[in-house]
């Protein structure tokens, strides 16, 4: 389809004899919020890692904005417009919140070695522009202060927000969120869910999230894809997924579906 931002065709990843994802077809319509769910070990993170260039698929194609990205290195994929967060927060702990966001802008800035050493006006302008944007992003993501604090010293919820700010700094078209509400309390989770919707609307993004919390998944996503043992077992709107027997079976066991 022409309005799909990302299309995965028969994507397969094998680790030795283990088939982590088995010929998965998957599409993300532009501007939507899509969720990828499934029990532990279903291949969600493997799939995620193939989209972000950490793994190269054994076979299959991944088209982003019409361009093949499978097998490209992570930084090249970021350049094309896919930003991500991590399941277990991976901030640069010893860097300040500001610096974390500035690193996210790396591929959007151009200063080189000589320019930086000489302090050329072009580089200075770029830096001050980047600083200003980083500040705006932090405020936007709900971090109005403590910009000069080390990322590792921020409270858990703020670290999650900082991860989103850093991912947004890469200026993505597609934002991948890997279990973003893990470890949050119900209030924080609710805040975060509405925040995701807000980012999508205001920043004109497409969002793919992996999530365990069914409340979040059902509440925020427009389409859901369910994986189990590396296979896609269902795909559809939240209402369809909720009624799907195979999904109920996968999550609750055979007896529950009957």
């Amino acid at each position: 389809m022409a309005d799909d931002l990302l299309v995965a065709e028969r994507v397969r990843k094998e680790f030795g004899g283990l088939v982590a994802t088995n010929d998965i077809d998957f599409a993300i319509p532009r501007g939507s919020i899509v969720a990828l769910i499934g029990p532990n070990g279903a291949g969600k993170t493997t799939f995620f890692n193939m989209l972000t260039g950490v793994y190269t698929p054994t076979s299959g194609r991944i088209l982003f904005d019409g361009e093949e990205i499978a097998g490209k290195p992570p930084h090249a994929i970021v350049e094309r417009g896919i930003g991500r967060t991590f399941q277990n927060i991976r901030l640069f702990q010893q860097m300040t919140a500001m610096e974390n966001v500035l690193v996210g802008m790396h591929s959007r800035l151009s200063a080189g070695i000589v320019g930086s050493i000489l302090g050329l006006p072009r580089v200075k302008r770029e830096e001050s522009g980047a600083n200003e944007r980083a500040r705006e992003l932090l405020v936007y993501c709900g971090l109005p202060k403590r910009h000069e604090h080390l990322a590792g010293s921020l409270p858990y919820g703020d670290q999650r927000r900082l991860e989103v700010a850093r991912a947004l700094a890469t200026d993505p078209k597609l934002l991948l969120l890997d279990e973003p509400t893990a470890g949050m309390n119900p209030q924080e989770t609710a805040d975060f869910t509405s925040f995701v919707r807000r980012i999508r609307d205001e920043k004109d993004l497409t969002v793919l999230l992996i999530e365990h919390d069914m409340k979040v998944v059902m509440g925020v996503s427009e389409r859901i894809t369910v994986l189990e043992y590396g296979e896609k077992i269902a795909e559809g709107t939240p209402a369809e997924i909720r009624a799907n027997e195979r999904v109920i079976e996968a999550y609750l066991g055979r007896g529950a579906a009957a």
Partner: protein
């Protein structure tokens, strides 16, 4: 006393930003520039000719700091860049290639002398560029590795290059490239030549009566150049990417930092300064000798970086000055005093590496972030990291009285 200190501190805080930022470095530079004039008044301080070596070692340590401190790549073969720089000076400014006679701006050399004689100023630049290329060539295959594996491979390169220069003579490769274990000497002196000499600049350092002072000021200028570049790089887009790689390589890549390119640049920049320092040191000693390029020297430089504080420019300077002073003069002097004290003659410099090892062990136990930690570590000490309180303490603990979620 503490009151006075407090008033002094508040006075300092009232000073304008420019003063607070530049006063200390400016003062340090003035003191350093004038050092040859007052060193005689200070008993125990190293004489100018030794201070030259200390400055050169400090420059190398700062180069290594870009690799180890900024980018977090453990390099145990940094001596390779020192060797490369030294041999560039030996090839391009000596009698070594006697079949060729090529002169370009060299000073203090007879016009018909055989060999290549290029102005040492140019040689320093060529050495820097050449070692940058060597750094990139060594970096490309090795920097795909991480952590310990990288350290082992760099160790290998640090051994290969000295072995190569020890053996690259007639007997070894059929062409006398490095003159084997004898090394290459003499190397031409640095200087401004007769034209500029006429307006008061020193024409040839080595024959000047104030030889040590001239080399000292030149070394100081090179060091200040290194410091300046180190700071500018640290605060740049590239410097941030280096530190991000040091913190979390996977996350850095996922944020758009090209790992190979960024790591290779850190290697190249480290090599650049190592090469210039190596070439300058070879010119100062007037020779490139393979005996200087042992593994121990890489470790010695690494000790300077660790002692001072990895990633901290000022820390590395202090660490390098202390260790190079101990190496060149301090241990012998301290040893003599210690010997007098116990009434026996003890050859303390013989135990140098045991002593450096001891210093590192003590440092790691007492002050693991170094003498002057990188400023981000200082924030860490003041704020604490990681110890996010338990959920209920954080949200409903005494003194807060409200749940944070509504804020």
């Amino acid at each position: 006393m503490s009151e006075q200190l407090a008033t002094l501190k508040s006075r300092w805080a009232e000073q304008p930003e420019v003063v607070r930022r530049y006063a200390l470095p400016a003062g340090a530079i003035v003191l350093a520039v004038l050092y040859p004039f007052y060193v005689d008044l200070l008993p125990g301080f190293p004489v100018t000719s030794i201070a030259v070596v200390m400055l050169v070692f400090t420059m190398m340590a700062l180069g290594l700091n870009i690799v180890v401190g900024y980018a977090g790549l453990l390099d145990l073969g940094y001596v390779a860049f020192y060797a490369a720089g030294a041999y560039i000076a030996a090839w391009l400014a000596s009698l070594h290639f006697e079949d060729i006679s090529f002169h370009f701006g060299a000073v203090g050399v007879a016009d018909d002398a055989p060999g290549i004689h290029i102005s040492v100023w140019l040689v320093l630049i060529i050495a820097g560029l050449f070692t940058t290329v060597v750094g990139i060539l060594i970096g490309l295959p090795t920097l795909r590795l991480r952590g310990d594996y990288l350290a082992i491979v760099t160790l290998g390169f640090g051994e290969i290059i000295p072995q190569f220069v020890r053996n690259a003579d007639e007997a070894g490769i059929g062409f006398d490239l490095t003159h084997g274990t004898f090394g290459i000497n003499p190397i031409d002196s640095i200087g401004f030549g007769e034209t500029l000499g006429a307006v008061g600049l020193p024409d040839v350092y080595r024959t000047s009566s104030s030889r040590a002072e001239l080399f000292y000021w030149t070394a100081l200028a090179l060091l200040l150049f290194t410091v300046f570049c180190s700071i500018r790089l640290r605060d740049s887009r590239l410097g941030r990417a280096w530190i991000a790689i040091r913190e979390d390589e996977t996350a850095a890549a996922a944020m758009g930092v090209p790992l190979m390119r960024t790591k290779t640049w850190s290697y190249a920049m480290g090599a650049f300064f190592g090469g210039i320092a190596g070439a300058f040191y070879a010119v100062y000693k007037s020779g490139a000798f393979p005996a200087d390029f042992y593994f121990q020297f890489s470790v010695f430089l690494l000790c300077m970086v660790i002692l001072g504080g990895m990633g901290s420019v000022w820390g590395v300077i202090v660490g390098a000055l202390i260790l190079s002073w101990l190496d060149r003069a301090g241990l012998a002097e301290l040893g003599k005093e210690f010997g007098d004290l116990v009434g026996r003659e003890i050859d303390v410099p013989k135990y140098a590496f045991g002593i450096y090892g001891g210093i590192i062990v003590v440092m790691m136990l007492v002050r693991p972030t170094g003498l002057i930690p990188e400023s981000r570590h200082k924030i860490e000490m003041e704020e604490g990291v990681h110890d996010t309180p338990l959920y209920d303490v954080q949200h409903e603990g005494p003194g807060t009285g409200r749940i944070r979620g509504d804020g």
